[in-house]
């Protein structure tokens, strides 16, 4: 029987010199508990996974940075499809080579095909480059590409 209680695992995280506050503990604890429940393993076992252990043991990085990396790694384990879709989305956006004053954001969790495009505009600079970039955006269905069907192993 697996142990979904993350308390011991959180203590172990602290033993690596990380000092997660109350909010961090909630975030990490929920992720650990859900992964443990899903996979039928103990929360502490998750910390032994090579990618996770490498983050915890990396003394060359600051504690806040390691906490952020730990959260991201656990999130990827807990939400693999969403993480993969986000990575694909970011990759496609990078390929579009948008001007630095433009930002493109999907609806959270890709629940809709809508995208928000932000442009920081200064009159003197004109909008030619941005209009070209918007054309490039319209030529690719970014959300569809991000959600490209993965193999269903179930």
């Amino acid at each position: 029987m697996s142990d979904n209680n993350p308390d011991k695992a959180l203590k172990k995280i602290e033993s690596y010199g990380l000092r997660p506050g109350k909010n961090w503990k909630k975030i990490l604890g929920d992720l650990l508990s859900d992964i443990a429940g899903r996979d039928g393993i103990g929360c502490e076992e998750i910390l032994l996974l090579p990618d996770i252990e490498a983050i915890l043991e990396n003394d060359n990085e600051s504690a806040p940075k390691r906490l952020e990396k730990l959260k991201n790694a656990l999130y990827k384990l807990r939400y693999p499809r969403h993480s993969a879709a986000l990575s694909r989305f970011r990759r496609h956006v990078k390929d579009l080579a948008l001007p630095t004053n433009m930002k493109i954001t999907p609806v959270p969790y890709f629940e809709s095909k809508r995208l928000m495009i932000e442009v920081v505009y200064e009159h003197e600079n004109g909008l030619d480059e941005e209009i070209e970039a918007i054309k490039r955006i319209s030529e690719i269905n970014l959300v569809k590409e991000a959600l490209e069907t993965e193999e269903d192993n179930n």
Partner: protein, 341 residues
């Protein structure tokens, strides 16, 4: 249900339905009160409250913000269900007693008035939101009153929604072709794990066959579809079983909905049903704040189910419950299902 205690409001104590319930459970102590006030620790889930509905019996299905809505109307005849499904929102109401609203004449008048207000539309009205429409009959025999009375309304489609096989008491009722008995279905694997007290899936399908033979239209709700190892084959088998048992011409609708629940239900499910794994799949907050499968999982489920159903029938209305219209359109399904289009 075997109530340990019955609490009855004096206003409805003399009504036939109240008397029937008291005589049926004559072992249970009865207390009479002016008005039941529900509150923390006042009653237990083993208590039965017979009360007067002082608010509306008929409400528009609240749907869920930002997703589609099928204009359904909920007929609130009481609260309580014994199937104990792990995913049920009724777990939010822990220690709430079973409640039966006994002023049925008021209910009938209200439904008549609501339907009269929408004379050129067929209204789909169902009792299965807060109860199992047939399971509740163990207490009330309500369908014997509602089916003949409400089916006399020319623009009604009354839905009796259930996970029960006990259709006997409905078969001889005069339903005038305006009553749809529908079954909430799942794979047998899910039913075994997550619907412990409900009847087996094949029993539900055979009950639908009997209802169909009695002239009822039938419906099926694959809701909640649950994603797990083996889902594809398991759900495929259920669709096969439906179409090898039921005449497709008499299926009024099939709905598809993927597992979703308010975030507050997650710790309750974990606590009450530690063996259930349903909360651990990839569920993320939707536009309405409810937890639901990540969109690509929902698409997989819906695509496969649509393929399975459409391989047998292209005509049966198949709709998505509480999803974006854009998704329904993408899958070739009905967005905003209703009986008037």
């Amino acid at each position: 249900m075997r109530p340990k205690k019955i609490i009855i409001e004096k206003d409805v104590a003399a009504l036939k339905i109240s008397k029937n319930i008291i005589s049926k459970y004559n072992y249970a102590p009865v207390s009479f009160v002016d008005r039941v006030k529900l509150g923390k620790d006042k009653y237990s889930k083993d208590d039965l409250v017979i009360a007067k509905q002082r608010g509306r019996f008929v409400k528009r299905c609240p749907g869920t913000p930002a997703y589609n809505c099928c204009q359904y109307h909920v007929l609130n005849v009481g609260i309580g269900c014994e199937t104990g499904c792990t995913y049920c929102f009724l777990h939010h109401y822990m220690n709430t007693p079973f409640i039966v609203y006994a002023n049925i004449d008021d209910l009938i008048s209200e439904v008549e008035a609501v339907c009269a207000d929408s004379q050129n539309k067929i209204l789909r009205i169902g009792t299965g939101e807060f109860i199992d429409s047939i399971g509740f009959d163990d207490l009330t025999d309500l369908n014997k009153i509602l089916v003949p009375k409400l089916s006399a309304i020319s623009n009604i489609a009354l839905e009796i929604k259930t996970k029960s096989k006990k259709v006997d008491s409905l078969l001889d009722l005069d339903h005038q072709g305006r009553v749809v008995i529908s079954w909430s279905l799942n794979s047998q694997t899910v039913a075994d794990k997550e619907e412990p007290e409900a009847d087996p899936i094949m029993d539900r399908i055979f009950a639908a066959k009997r209802a169909q033979e009695a002239g009822y239209s039938v419906g099926f709700h694959f809701d909640p579809l649950i994603y797990y190892s083996g889902w594809k084959d398991d759900y495929g088998k259920v669709v096969d079983q439906i179409f090898s048992t039921i005449d497709p011409a008499g299926i009024a609708w099939i709905s598809l909905g993927a597992l979703r629940f308010n975030p507050g239900l997650k710790p309750i499910i974990k606590l009450k049903f530690p063996k259930s794994k349903i909360v651990y799949q990839e569920m993320v907050p939707g536009l309405d704040g409810k937890l639901r499968y990540f969109i690509s999982i929902r698409k997989l489920l819906f695509e496969r189910m649509t393929f399975n159903i459409r391989s047998y029938s292209k005509k049966i209305p198949v709709y998505l419950c509480m999803e974006k219209n854009e998704l329904a359109k993408e899958l070739g399904l009905i967005a905003n299902f209703n009986l008037n289009s």
